[in-house]
């Protein structure tokens, strides 16, 4: 068993997980709940094993490094943090329907990593610029932030869906969307997830700045990746201030959660492929 097999299995298990959470949501099959959580947890452990094995394999190849160094490894880690965060939210807020909106992100990330033709799955050695102790701190903190924003976007989507049906006054407890948590609860979890993501994004930007300074003597050079991470930071800063000081909530925050995540995706993915700069690891 090698890491690529385990990570390949993960792609499919996250797909089943997505389907199962959708079944719970659509068919209101609450009894399935614990089994689906169990299944997702096992899939998560398989992926964790895959990541550890990949780490170990890189040492066997003679250039050991954490599996966080190219586009493939980053999407795999992105999926991993989304599931980890989702499972914590499920456990903390005791609701499973969120799974139908959060787990698909992890599946899509894994599917992209597995099937996209423009990214390499090979374990490659580290170029000199990446040989730093800041690598792990920077990548891990950024991706915790990204994962939180992904989940927040899923929640935002869920809010808008429920809100739409409520304004049409078609919702009652028997209907499809009746199984979703109340608008107030979704709004609260969305906000908390964004706050969590904002803290980690801040730490991610700061660790990146410290790393840049130790490698090039400049903590901030307005490289496109840096600038886009700052734009994303601004968007969430605006969102939090609008909520705290101007009382924004509900649909507006839900839209901002989705809009913010679009910026995250552009920072993470768009910059690598559409713009040039220091973080060009995605293009090769």
């Amino acid at each position: 068993m090698d890491s690529s097999q385990l990570l390949g299995i993960t792609t499919f298990t996250y797909m089943f997980s997505t389907i199962l959470y959708a079944i719970i949501f659509i068919f209101k099959a609450k009894k399935l709940g614990p089994a689906v959580t169990m299944f997702t947890l096992v899939a998560f452990l398989v992926q964790t094993a895959g990541l550890i094995l990949r780490w170990q394999e890189s040492y066997t190849l003679g250039y050991g490094h954490a599996p966080l160094t190219n586009m493939y490894e980053s999407v795999v880690f992105f999926a991993w943090t989304i599931i980890a965060l989702y499972l914590v939210i499920e456990w903390k807020f005791k609701t499973r329907v969120i799974g139908a909106f959060a787990v698909p992100f992890a599946f899509l990330a894994m599917a992209y990593g597995s099937f996209a033709t423009n990214i390499s799955q090979e374990i490659s050695p580290l170029i000199p610029a990446l040989q730093s102790n800041w690598l792990i701190a920077h990548v891990v903190t950024c991706f915790i932030g990204y994962a939180a924003f992904a989940v927040a976007a899923g929640l935002g989507f869920m809010y808008l869906l429920k809100n739409m049906s409520e304004t049409r006054q078609t919702t009652n407890n028997d209907s499809l969307l009746g199984t979703l948590p109340s608008l107030k609860v979704i709004d609260d979890i969305t906000h908390k997830t964004m706050v969590f993501g904002f803290l980690w994004l801040s730490v991610g930007i700061i660790t990146g700045a410290i790393w840049a300074n130790s490698a090039w003597g400049t903590y901030w050079s307005w490289d496109p990746k840096e600038t886009w991470s700052l734009i994303t930071w601004f968007i969430y800063a605006i969102t939090l201030h609008a909520r705290y000081t101007r009382g924004w909530d509900g649909s507006r925050i839900a839209w901002l959660a989705i809009f913010g995540f679009v910026s995250v995706i552009f920072t993470y993915y768009g910059v690598n492929f559409l713009l040039s700069g220091l973080h060009s690891y995605g293009s090769n």
Partner: protein
């Protein structure tokens, strides 16, 4: 209520903050789409003459240092300062408030309350309640009111400053950046092996800056993985002051050398068609290093000999092995191959030499002095601390009223928290249940 002038309220408004952040986000995109710091002719070629001129007028080619972008950052800073001046005194008053002076009627009306009765005396109850609170980390103070005794305890009053720590952190980062801009410099130097320099050219201005000491590159090396990918760029650097060696260090990317506040970073390299040869006489230990072009001879004065490269093999841009021709004062010349970066021992009549050969490189060093960087890091630390406090910590307050009627004491407990109300409800329920059992 103090009367505020309209300018003050404009600069202290959150609307302005939201507007500034919005403008900063939108305008920041420009510089990620239009390449920065190219020449005017480059923009004219890639866009059009007119567009290039418009870019010029709007400082688009260096937009993050343009008057209008710095102006937006300045507006944000002014907004942060004035907003904090406006709001902080109120928050400080809440932190330092005499909570024991709170009107008992208000305490009774709080959202979180619980009450029970006891037939113990007021003194005993006060002690038991204080101890009960203390066992959970609440340090209570008390004061006599008209017909009741009030106990008060709080946690995390200072956490109300969290938001202001975050706002201040942004200003601290700005100050650090300004210090770096005023008292620091950045530049680069391309230093060939064996050469030394005591000055370099500054970025932007192109001005020559004196280091105040001498820096020499003794050796530059590239290591490759088997796949041909670069594994490491290494420069052996030596620093001299008054012709005395004061520091020697091998630098690689991510591990620079710092001397007297100036840091040298490995950033690039350049390969030459010349070669670097080091000849050591094993008998007397005499060492001589020479740089020389391909297929030419050169005198080695220290060894009374001549040396030359007669042939070389290369893979791409880098030389893999060299054929060396060597002759001293006795006997015919020796010729032999040396692998790049390697060395061989040559036996000559009555003498023995070690000869090392490699392609000659220049190391590209990034040079920076930034006395503001620690201020920036301080700001970053403050930001993380402030965000954590602002998001995850709250100011929790507990009031207890003890009143007596017909030998029966009534204990009324109330609490409030400025954040995480759900979490505090649990804490409050647990605490009041504990205190009730303590005093029964």
């Amino acid at each position: 209520m103090k009367k505020k002038n309209s300018l003050f309220s404009f600069f202290s408004s959150v609307k302005l903050a939201l507007f500034t952040l919005f403008l900063l986000s939108i305008t920041s995109i420009i510089g990620t789409v239009i390449p920065q710091k190219e020449s005017i002719s480059w923009y004219a070629q890639n866009y059009s003459e007119t567009t290039a001129r418009i870019f010029q007028v709007l400082s688009i080619p260096n937009m993050y240092n343009s008057w209008w972008f710095l102006g937006l950052l300045g507006l944000l800073a002014a907004n942060l300062i004035i907003c904090s001046i406006d709001r902080f005194p109120g928050v400080w008053k809440q932190i330092k408030a005499d909570n024991l002076a709170t009107d008992p009627k208000r305490i009774m009306k709080m959202r979180l309350t619980a009450s029970w009765t006891s037939d113990k005396s007021e003194e005993i109850l006060a002690t038991e309640l204080s101890n009960g609170l203390l066992s959970k980390g609440w340090k209570a103070a008390q004061r006599k009111h008209d017909n009741a005794l009030m106990l008060f305890a709080q946690k995390g009053a200072m956490t109300r400053t969290g938001v202001y720590i975050v706002h201040a952190s942004i200003l601290v980062i700005f100050i650090g950046a300004i210090i770096g801009e005023l008292y620091g410099f950045k530049g680069s130097v391309m230093l060939p092996e064996t050469q030394a320099t005591s000055s370099f050219f500054q970025f932007g201005t192109g001005k020559s800056i004196d280091l105040g000491f001498t820096l020499r590159c003794d050796r530059f090396e590239i290591e490759f993985y088997d796949s041909g990918m670069p594994k490491a760029y290494k420069s052996m650097l030596t620093i001299f002051e008054n012709n005395k060696i004061t520091l020697e260090k091998e630098i690689v990317v991510n591990d620079p050398l710092t001397y007297k506040g100036i840091t040298f970073y490995q950033s690039s390299y350049q390969g030459y068609e010349d070669f670097l040869l080091t000849v050591t006489n094993q008998e007397n230990g005499e060492v001589q290093t020479v740089t020389m072009p391909f297929q030419q001879q050169q005198d080695l004065s220290k060894h009374n000999a001549r040396i030359g490269i007669v042939n070389a093999e290369a893979m791409g841009q880098s030389i893999t092995r060299m054929k060396v021709w060597f002759k001293d004062d006795l006997g015919p010349a020796s010729t032999f191959w040396i692998n790049a970066g390697g060395q061989v021992t040559v036996e000559r009549p009555g003498k023995k030499y070690t000869i090392a050969a490699k392609q000659m490189y220049a190391t590209g060093l990034q040079i920076a002095k930034d006395p503001g960087v620690w201020v920036v890091y301080l700001g970053c630390g403050m930001m993380i601390l402030g965000l954590f406090v602002a998001f995850f910590m709250s100011h929790k307050r507990i009031w207890i009223l003890l009143s007596k009627e017909d030998d029966i004491s009534t204990i009324q407990i109330s609490g409030s928290s400025n954040k995480n109300k759900v979490g505090f409800e649990k804490i409050f329920a647990g605490l009041s249940a504990n205190l009730e059992t303590d005093t029964k």
